[in-house]
C-alpha cells in the first residue's frame, strides 16, 4: 500500500506504451500486443465476466463488418444512446474502425433531445441500449430522415418487433461475419484509411443555456491527449479502473475508455448507476476517477454510519483521523514525517482508517482523481487523512479532459494544479479567464463557426470561461465561472462556487445555488440529500410523510440553517447567505433542473424558482 509520505511509486510515464496515431490504430495494435489479457469486465446475471482483448477485437470486428455491410460510409456519424455498458465501448470502437464519427447521447435525455442530437450530428446509425431507449428513438424517427438503421443492444421484450430498420446487435454481428467472409480486407482498408486529421468523436456540451453544442475532436487530439494523461498520472496493465460515469461525457470517454485502451488498464463496468457504492467495494479499483458528487456521497455515507457506531468506534475513528490529518498537514507542508508519527499512523490504519477505506471500496486505490466540478478542499483533505492521495484535475469538453492537474509530488488542496505537461495555460491579463492552448484543444463546434471563433482566438487560445488565479508556483485556483460571478447591490464581487462548495460539504446538502446578483444580500436554493436527511429526521423523531413534508419540517430547516451558519462564519458579512429555501421536489437526472451529472443548472433554477427567490427578498 502506498503511504502519503512516500509516493515515489506514482510516477509519470513519458514513453509511448502503444503505437498508433488514430484510435482504431491504437485499438488494433492493443489487440495484437495484449491478445489474451483481460480488458473489460462486466456482470452478467450477477457474475463477473471477463472480455479479453482478443474477444473485444472479435466483437468490434463483427460490429464494424455489420456496419460496412449496411453501407456505413467513411465520415458518417453514428450515435450511441445507452448507459455505461461494454456494448457502448464495442459500438464506439467499431464506428471509429470504419472511419466513422461517434457521438454519445445521455441515456437520461428525452426524446426531443435525442432528435436534436441525431439531427445536428447527422447520424446515419443509432445504437440504443434497450426497449426504453428505443422508444425514445421511435418517437422521433419520422422526423429524422437521415437515420437509416437502429441497432439495439438488449432485445429483452422486443422479440416480436418486426421492423426492417431495427436490428439487434447480435443480428448486426451476424451480418458482419458474413460480410467479412466475402470481403475480408474491407475493414482493414478502412482502419488504414483513417487519418489522424479525421474527425473522430463529437461530445455535446451539456448546455446549461441554449442548445447543446457538439465539440469536435480529431483522432490526433485524442491520441495526443491519452499519451499526455500518462505523463500526468500514469497507469498500466496491472491497474483496475471502474467505468461508471456516462461515456458521452468527456471524463469517462477519455479518462476511462481511451486512456484504458492506451495503457491496458482493466475496465470494470458497474451494473447500474444506482449500484455504484456496492460495485466500488466489489471492484476495489486501484485507480479511481470520479466527480465531486461521488466523493461527497462516500464521505457522508461514512459520517452517517459513524453516528450509528459504538462510542469506542467513534473514539477510535476520531483519534485515527486526527493522526491522518497530522500526517496530511506535514506532507502538504513538505515536511518529513517523523517515525513516531508513522508508527501512530500504522495503529490508526489498523484501528479505523483501513476499515473506512474498505467501507468505501478504496482500500486498493493507489490514488484518486477528482474533476469535472469544483470540490471542497476540506473533502480532499479528508481523503488525504485516510492515507489516499487525491488529485484534482481541471479540464473541459473542449480541452479533451484534464488540462491542469495536481501532481503527486506537491499536492495543494483547493488548487487545480499547474498546467499539465502537454498543454499551455495562462490567465487573461484583463479578466483573469483561464486560457488553454495545445494539441488537445478541440477542433471547433459542429456547424457553429461563429461559436468556435468565440471560443478559440486567432492565436489558438481556448477561452475556458473559468476565472482563476495563479500562485507563485504556477498552481491555479478557480475562482468562478465567468458568467456566474455575483455582484451584489452593494457592489461586492462574490464567487458563488466557494460558498456552494462549502455548503455541499455537509452530508445533508447535495447541491446549492447561491443567488444575489444586484440584490441587497445573498440567498441560496438548496437541494437536500434525501437519504441522510431522512435518517436525521428519523433519529430525531421528526415526523414526516413524503419528501415535501420532510423539507418543510422545522427541525430540517434548522439543520440546514446550522450548516449555513457554519459556512457563513468563514465569510465576511456581505458574503454571508441570509436566507435559503429547500427544493421540495425530489429531482432526478431526467428533470430539466439537473445536468446529467446531477448538478443544478444555475440559470434554469433561477428562472424556474423566480417566485420563491423573490419571496426571500421580501421583508
Amino acid at each position: 500500500m502506498t503511504q502519503l509520505w512516500d509516493l515515489k511509486s506514482i510516477q509519470p510515464n513519458f514513453e509511448v506504451v502503444l503505437p498508433g496515431e488514430t484510435i482504431p490504430a491504437l485499438f488494433w495494435n492493443a489487440v495484437k500486443q495484449r491478445g489474451p489479457q483481460v480488458w473489460l469486465r462486466q456482470k452478467h446475471l450477477g457474475l463477473w465476466r471477463s472480455h479479453s482483448w482478443n474477444q473485444t477485437g472479435e466483437a468490434v470486428r463483427e460490429i464494424a463488418g455489420g456496419l460496412l455491410s449496411l453501407g456505413f460510409a467513411k465520415g458518417e456519424c453514428a450515435s450511441i444512446l445507452a448507459n455505461t455498458v461494454i456494448e457502448w465501448v464495442l459500438a464506439d470502437l467499431a464506428v471509429l474502425s470504419c472511419g466513422g464519427v461517434s457521438n454519445g447521447i445521455y441515456p437520461t435525455d428525452a426524446a426531443a433531445q435525442v432528435r436534436y442530437l441525431c439531427e445536428d450530428s447527422r447520424s446515419a446509425f443509432l445504437f440504443v441500449e434497450d426497449d426504453e431507449q428505443l422508444d425514445k428513438a421511435l418517437e422521433v424517427r419520422e422526423r429524422l430522415p437521415g437515420l437509416r438503421k437502429i441497432v439495439v443492444f438488449d432485445m429483452a421484450g422486443l422479440h416480436t418487433l418486426q421492423d426492417p430498420d431495427i436490428l439487434s446487435l447480435d443480428a448486426l454481428r451476424a451480418l458482419g461475419r458474413a460480410h467479412l467472409a466475402r470481403q475480408p480486407d474491407q475493414l482493414q482498408q478502412r482502419i488504414d484509411g483513417c487519418a489522424s486529421s479525421d474527425l473522430a468523436i463529437l461530445v455535446y456540451t451539456s448546455g446549461t443555456t441554449g442548445k447543446p453544442k457538439g465539440a469536435m475532436h480529431l483522432h490526433a487530439g485524442l491520441v495526443y491527449t491519452v499519451r499526455g494523461f500518462n505523463t500526468l498520472i500514469a497507469q498500466d496493465e496491472q491497474d483496475e479502473r471502474m467505468c461508471f460515469l456516462p461515456l458521452c461525457h468527456i471524463a469517462e470517454r477519455m479518462g476511462g475508455e481511451y486512456f484504458a485502451l492506451y495503457t491496458g488498464t482493466k475496465l470494470n463496468f458497474v451494473e447500474h448507476p444506482e449500484t455504484v457504492p456496492e460495485n466500488v467495494r466489489e471492484i476495489a479499483p486501484t485507480v479511481f476517477t470520479a466527480v465531486p458528487r461521488v466523493w461527497e456521497k462516500f464521505y457522508s455515507g461514512v459520517m452517517i454510519s459513524l453516528k450509528e457506531a459504538s462510542a469506542f468506534s467513534q473514539a477510535a475513528y476520531a483519534w485515527s483521523i486526527a493522526v491522518g490529518n497530522a500526517i496530511a498537514d506535514q506532507v502538504l507542508a513538505a515536511q518529513t514525517v517523523s517515525p513516531w508519527l508513522k508508527l501512530k499512523f500504522k495503529v490508526a490504519q489498523w484501528l479505523a482508517l483501513n476499515n473506512v477505506r474498505k467501507l468505501i471500496g478504496i482500500h486498493r486505490a493507489r490514488f484518486l482523481v477528482t474533476g469535472a466540478a469544483p470540490i471542497s478542499p476540506d473533502l480532499v483533505r479528508w481523503y488525504l487523512a485516510l492515507g489516499v492521495p487525491m488529485l484534482e484535475v481541471w479540464g473541459m469538453t473542449e480541452t479533451c479532459g484534464a488540462s491542469t492537474g495536481v501532481p503527486v509530488a506537491r499536492m495543494k488542496p483547493g488548487s487545480i494544479g499547474p498546467a499539465v505537461p502537454f498543454n499551455e495555460v495562462r490567465l487573461d491579463p484583463a479578466t483573469g479567464e483561464i486560457l488553454v492552448r495545445g494539441k488537445n484543444v478541440f477542433a471547433g463546434y459542429l456547424n457553429l463557426p461563429a461559436k468556435t471563433a468565440e471560443a478559440i482566438d486567432p492565436e489558438g487560445w481556448l477561452h475556458s470561461g473559468d476565472v482563476g488565479v495563479m500562485d507563485s508556483d504556477g498552481y491555479l485556483r478557480i475562482t468562478d465561472r465567468m458568467k456566474d460571478i455575483i455582484i451584489t447591490a452593494g457592489g461586492k464581487n462574490i464567487t458563488p462556487s466557494e460558498l456552494e462548495n462549502d455548503l455541499k460539504f455537509s452530508p445533508y446538502i447535495t447541491d446549492a445555488v447561491v443567488i444575489g446578483d444586484r440584490r441587497a444580500y445573498l440567498t441560496a436554493i438548496i437541494m437536500i440529500d434525501q437519504e441522510n436527511v431522512e435518517k436525521y429526521a428519523q433519529d430525531q423523531d421528526v415526523p414526516f410523510g413524503n419528501y415535501a413534508s420532510l423539507t418543510r419540517a422545522p427541525e430540517v430547516q434548522a439543520l440546514i440553517q446550522a450548516d449555513l451558519d457554519r459556512v457563513n462564519k468563514k465569510f465576511a458579512r456581505v458574503e454571508q447567505i441570509k436566507k435559503f429555501f429547500l427544493l421540495d421536489t425530489q429531482l432526478t437526472a431526467e428533470d430539466e433542473e439537473l445536468t446529467p451529472t446531477m448538478k443544478l443548472k444555475r440559470k434554469l433554477v433561477e428562472k424556474k424558482y423566480a417566485a420563491q427567490i423573490e419571496a426571500m427578498y421580501l421583508s
Partner: protein
C-alpha cells in the same frame, strides 16, 4: 400535498409518530408517521414487503416498535399488551383470515368478544354481524375450517366486530378472493364504516379497490411513506396510475415493458 390536515383541536383517532419496527437487524418500517381521523377509512398501499402488515402489527401491539409512538384516542398505546389494546376499542383482522378452524363459526365469533363483559351488547353485535353476513348465521354451527375463503374472510371481519371496536385494522381482505367476492367484501366494509361509524385502517395490494373504498391514502415503499393524499387526488397521480392501477400509455410501439422512474409528485 396533504391539504387535509385536521383542524387544530380535531384529535385524530389514531396517530403514529416516527414508528420504526424491525425483525432482527432488518428494519421493516423506517419512520412512519400517519394518522387516521374519526369515522374515515384510511388505506396504506404498497407492494409485497413494503411494511404494510408490520405497521398494523405494531399498532395492535403484536410487535413492539424500536422507536416512535402510537397514540389511540389521545392515549399512548405503544407496545402495550394486545389484549389491553383490544379492550380500548381497537381490533385487528389479520392477513390470511386466521380463523380458528376447529371451532364453530359461532364460537369463533364469541372469541372476538372474549374481552367483553356486557352480554347484552355481545348478543346485539352478534345479530349485527349476522345482518351483514347472513351466510354466517346459516353456517353458525359448522367448523370454521370448512368455510370457503370468502366466508372465512367474512368471519374474520365479524370476529373483529364482536369486540365492538372504534377502529378496525384490516389486513388485505382481498387476499386470495375472486374479484366478485372482493367487491362484496369491500361493499360491506364501507357499510360497516357508514352504518356503525367504525373507523377503518385498511392495508391493501389491490389499489383500485382500496382507493375507491377509502377517503385518505398513504403509499408505502421500502418501509417509508412516499406519498399521502385524499384518495380522489391519489387516483390522479401519474405514479399511482402507472405503478398501482396498471394504467399506462403503451408508448410508440403499442407495448411498453420498461417502467418509468417513480418520482412521487
Amino acid at each position: 400535498m396533504s391539504n387535509k390536515q385536521p383542524a387544530p383541536g380535531d384529535q385524530p383517532l389514531l396517530r403514529l409518530q416516527n414508528v420504526e419496527s424491525a425483525y432482527g437487524a432488518i428494519k421493516a418500517i423506517r419512520g412512519i408517521s400517519l394518522q387516521v381521523r374519526q369515522a374515515e377509512i384510511a388505506t396504506v398501499l404498497g407492494a409485497n414487503g413494503a411494511g404494510k402488515t408490520t405497521i398494523l402489527k405494531t399498532i395492535s401491539g403484536i410487535i413492539d416498535p424500536r422507536k416512535g409512538t402510537v397514540e389511540f384516542k389521545g392515549q399512548d398505546i405503544t407496545a402495550q399488551d394486545p389484549a389491553l389494546i383490544v379492550q380500548q376499542g381497537l381490533s385487528h383482522v389479520p392477513e390470511g383470515r386466521e380463523v380458528f378452524p376447529l371451532l364453530s363459526v359461532h364460537a369463533n365469533l364469541l372469541m372476538g368478544a372474549y374481552t367483553r363483559k356486557d352480554r347484552d351488547g355481545v348478543a346485539r353485535d352478534m345479530e349485527g354481524v349476522y345482518g351483514y353476513f347472513p351466510i354466517l348465521r346459516e353456517r353458525a354451527a359448522q367448523e370454521a375450517g370448512l368455510l370457503s375463503g370468502g366466508q372465512q374472510q367474512m368471519l374474520a371481519i365479524s370476529r373483529a366486530l364482536m369486540a365492538n371496536p372504534d377502529l378496525m385494522l384490516l389486513d388485505e381482505p382481498s387476499l386470495g378472493l375472486s374479484p366478485k367476492l372482493t367487491k362484496e367484501i369491500f361493499e360491506i366494509v364501507v357499510r360497516i364504516n357508514r352504518e356503525r361509524g367504525t373507523t377503518i385502517l385498511l392495508v391493501e395490494q389491490n389499489a383500485n379497490m382500496a382507493l375507491n373504498a377509502s377517503d385518505y391514502g398513504y403509499v408505502l415503499e421500502n418501509g417509508r411513506i412516499v406519498m399521502e393524499d385524499s384518495c380522489a387526488h391519489l387516483r390522479e397521480k401519474d405514479d399511482i396510475k402507472e405503478f398501482y392501477l396498471g394504467l399506462k400509455e403503451d408508448g410508440v410501439r403499442g407495448e411498453r415493458r420498461w417502467k418509468k422512474k417513480k418520482t412521487w409528485r
